[in-house]
């Protein structure tokens, strides 16, 4: 039983948190790809920038003496998401919209987004330095320990307050997005444009409005993902830049352009990465009593060392593309 609880602590909870963050980032990437047909590399900076905005707001609120029963990062999240949406709209208007107007190819937009990535990262370093910050400098990170001795476990089930809130907030966001895409006029128009942009235009759908809504949703969700990542680890200028590749892998594995695919891909890669670096030695330790002397389990027994965690995403990506070239949810092939 102790081993099972250990497994839940190390894999199920951590995987759900990482998967949620990947999923929220991948949704934005997949929506932008569906509508504007380019790989938005600077999505990592929407996440990092959003996290820094949330951090500033949280510091401001704390300075004003605002107290809340939940971590300040979550209190300011709705406001930060509004700023994140405006941030995304501004980047589109300043950099991508002028290129689209000139009929730029997707690869030009991709390169432009790499430029935007470097620019925003530079700006963040300029104002915040390259050090790291914590949302929990002035407030404690509540940790819940559920005693599992009734089930015969010597270890408690450990989950932090931010982790619980992250999983809840992600679930709310995903459900809200589902209703938006399937019930609202604008959400359906978004799906229509991702399906067939020319026909959407011919139908009289206001495509410029759909593009704006896409950036609003992508920006807000990126801000949410970035803030949650910063709450889970620490806030630094290359916060999301380090995980943009697995997020892209999640979007591609799920099927580009498919919002549900991005969620599935994000969770899949999040869990797989966590599982791959999990130290099985802890769970399999009881076997040592039955195994012969010469075949004792080593102290660490993980599939891949932690520093190779990122490769897991690409192994899944390659395998998926070999078996189902358009991703789990049949996305765009291009």
């Amino acid at each position: 039983m102790t081993e099972l609880i250990f497994f839940i602590n190390q894999v199920v909870i951590a995987g759900a948190v990482l998967g949620s963050i990947y999923a929220l980032g991948a949704i934005g990437i997949t929506l932008i790809f569906g509508i504007l047909r380019f790989a938005h590399f600077a999505h990592s900076e929407l996440m990092t920038g959003g996290a820094f905005m949330a951090f500033l707001l949280a510091s401001l609120f704390a300075a004003w003496g605002v107290h809340a029963p939940i971590p300040m990062g979550f209190v300011v999240l709705p406001l930060a998401m509004v700023l994140g949406a405006i941030f995304a709209l501004g980047i589109d208007k300043g950099f991508y919209a002028p290129l689209r107007k000139r009929g730029a190819k997707p690869v030009t937009l991709l390169i432009a987004s790499i430029g935007v990535t470097l620019m925003i990262q530079g700006l963040i370093r300029l104002f915040f330095g390259s050090g790291s910050y914590s949302f929990f400098e002035n407030e404690p990170k509540d940790v819940f320990r559920f005693d599992m001795s009734a089930l015969g476990s010597t270890r408690p089930l450990v989950i932090t307050e931010p982790q619980i809130l992250m999983i809840v907030v992600t679930a709310i966001a995903v459900i809200a997005l589902h209703f938006f895409l399937t019930r609202s006029r604008l959400g359906k128009a978004m799906r229509a444009m991702a399906d067939n942009a020319d026909l959407a235009q011919v139908s009289g759908i206001n495509t410029a409005l759909v593009v704006r809504v896409t950036w609003i949703i992508a920006g807000a969700l990126a801000c949410m993902a970035g803030t949650m990542l910063a709450l889970d680890v620490t806030l630094k200028p290359d916060l999301a830049f380090n995980i943009i590749l697995p997020i892209f892998a999640a979007a591609i594995v799920g099927g580009l352009g498919q919002a549900y695919g991005a969620i599935a891909g994000g969770l899949l890669i999040g869990f797989a990465e966590t599982l791959a670096v999990f130290n099985w030695s802890m769970v399999l330790k009881p076997l040592n009593t039955v195994l012969p002397e010469w075949l004792q389990l080593p102290q660490t027994l993980a599939l891949v060392p932690t520093e190779y965690k990122l490769t897991v995403a690409f192994v899944i990506l390659v395998v998926t593309l070999l078996v189902r070239p358009t991703g789990i949810f049949k996305g765009a092939s291009s």
């Binding site: 128009a189 235009q201 011919v202 139908s203």
Partner: protein, 234 residues
């Protein structure tokens, strides 16, 4: 006053013009059919009306209002609707969602229009919850027409509605077009099955080289020996 009137329209995709002076006039009671050889500018004419390419000369008036180079999101609310030849349904969306997208520009309740479309195409009512990509070619064409009718257009433009359909479906689609016209929707269509389409057309336009070659009623054009020889295959 004609519902739509093109006077000497010149236009293209930026290079040399494809349309070199096209004249078309259609009443709301008309079924207008544009025929002609490949590359004559038939589909291009419809796209020029719908703002999908640049009109550099001549005038396009809809209901007495100049609409040259207006974009679809402005034209659809005015009462113009267009069914492209290919990729004319949202394959990943259900039949009903396809129809809803046709009504995107409408702010009023469109449930009666949907009922009207389902009465016209009963098979779509059966498949309303099915993704349009799973339907047969003929049924997709119905979804495409239904989508275009959801905006309650005064003029419905169709680009080769019978392309790629079996002969049975060709007749069914043509019958539907006549029925839609009887309900008070003007029709302007491009057709490859020229003789068959001119048979029920009240106005026919033979284009070649981006210009009108012959204009008349459908019956007149079929009867004209020169049109028959050059454009209807004898």
């Amino acid at each position: 006053m004609a519902l739509i009137e093109l006077k000497h329209v010149v236009g293209g995709y930026g290079g040399a013009p494809i349309l070199n002076g096209v004249d078309i006039a259609i009443e709301q009671s008309d079924i207008g059919v544009i025929v002609g050889p490949n590359g004559a500018g038939k589909s291009t004419t419809l796209k020029a009306i719908f703002g999908l390419l640049k009109v550099t000369g001549g005038t396009i008036e809809f209901n007495g209002e100049s609409v040259a180079n207006s974009l679809p999101d402005k034209l659809v609310p005015k009462g113009l609707s267009f069914v492209p030849q290919e990729k004319n349904v949202f394959t990943s969306m259900t039949v009903e969602e396809n129809l809803e997208m046709g009504a995107f520009t409408r702010k009023d309740d469109f449930s009666d229009t949907m009922t009207w479309v389902y009465e016209m195409f009963p098979v779509l009512a059966e498949k309303r919850r099915q993704p349009a990509g799973e339907l047969s070619g003929g049924q997709r064409q119905m979804v495409a027409m239904g989508r275009a009718l959801m905006s309650k257009p005064k003029l419905l433009m169709l680009d080769e509605p019978s392309a790629g359909l079996s002969p049975r479906y060709v007749i069914e689609i043509f019958e539907t077009i006549v029925r839609v016209n009887k309900e008070g929707v003007g029709i302007l269509m491009v057709e490859q099955n020229a003789r068959q389409a001119l048979a029920f057309a009240s106005k026919g336009f033979v284009l070649a080289g981006g210009q009108n070659r012959f204009t008349g009623t459908g019956a007149e054009l079929i009867a004209d020996p020169e049109v028959a020889k050059s454009f209807l295959g004898g």
